[in-house]
Assembly symmetry: C2
Homo-oligomer: 109 residues x 2
Amino acid sequence: MGLTKTEMFTDLQNEIALFAKVLGHPARVAILQHLFKIEGCICGDLVDEIGLAQPTISQHLKELKLLGLIKGNVEGTSVCYCIDKENWTNMKRVMLQFLDQDIDNKNCC
Amino acid sequence: MGLTKTEMFTDLQNEIALFAKVLGHPARVAILQHLFKIEGCICGDLVDEIGLAQPTISQHLKELKLLGLIKGNVEGTSVCYCIDKENWTNMKRVMLQFLDQDIDNKNCC
DNA sequence: TTAGTTCATTGCAATATTACAATTAAGTTC
DNA sequence: GAACTTAATTGTAATATTGCAATGAACTAA
């Protein structure tokens, strides 16, 4: 069906999955890496940098913005995108708490 | 098109995206959390625990297994699934390196 | 005002994902 | 063997995602 049954899961499980999902495309990973590298960015740069068409980049930026990981300020004809530091840190905290589990494997395998 | 153009991205970017993608569904997050909690598991438990149908759970387990995050041992009629510690640690390392970036935001916003 | 620039939006096609009923496969128990 | 249990596989339907051409919106420059 392509439709995730979010109502069966906890808020935290859904939150983790949403964050992970938006990171689950190499173009969005590349965009974020680039924004970290240059600390502030114009979308035109990204189209050249990444190699996908402008509408495609624009759409990926939209998804990142929707989750709050980046924010954009209009500046003349351009739009300046950058990492939303506070939301990034929050996302990082949620993901680290999930990822940084350790296990004994004493019962199995 | 639904088809990711992986060839435009680095191996690392694709690897990060693949790991993130498999974590991008709450059922798989829930499965992993459960495996961590009980340290060794039978799939039947998961169907009851999570509430999706058996084939759906089986399919999610398959994806987790494909990425190597879990492994399954046949044990009689049941299959014992558990976290693949080594691969989990590797995934964690890759993701932490990506997530744990800091930024100054001195140029923008 | 006209032309140019930059980015968002719309519309569409192709592929991917999610979910499950039905079935199969492989083992156990009697 | 027959009946039962557990989990994988197959087939199918519905929705989501990805990508881009075409277009639109907003600003700038001449």
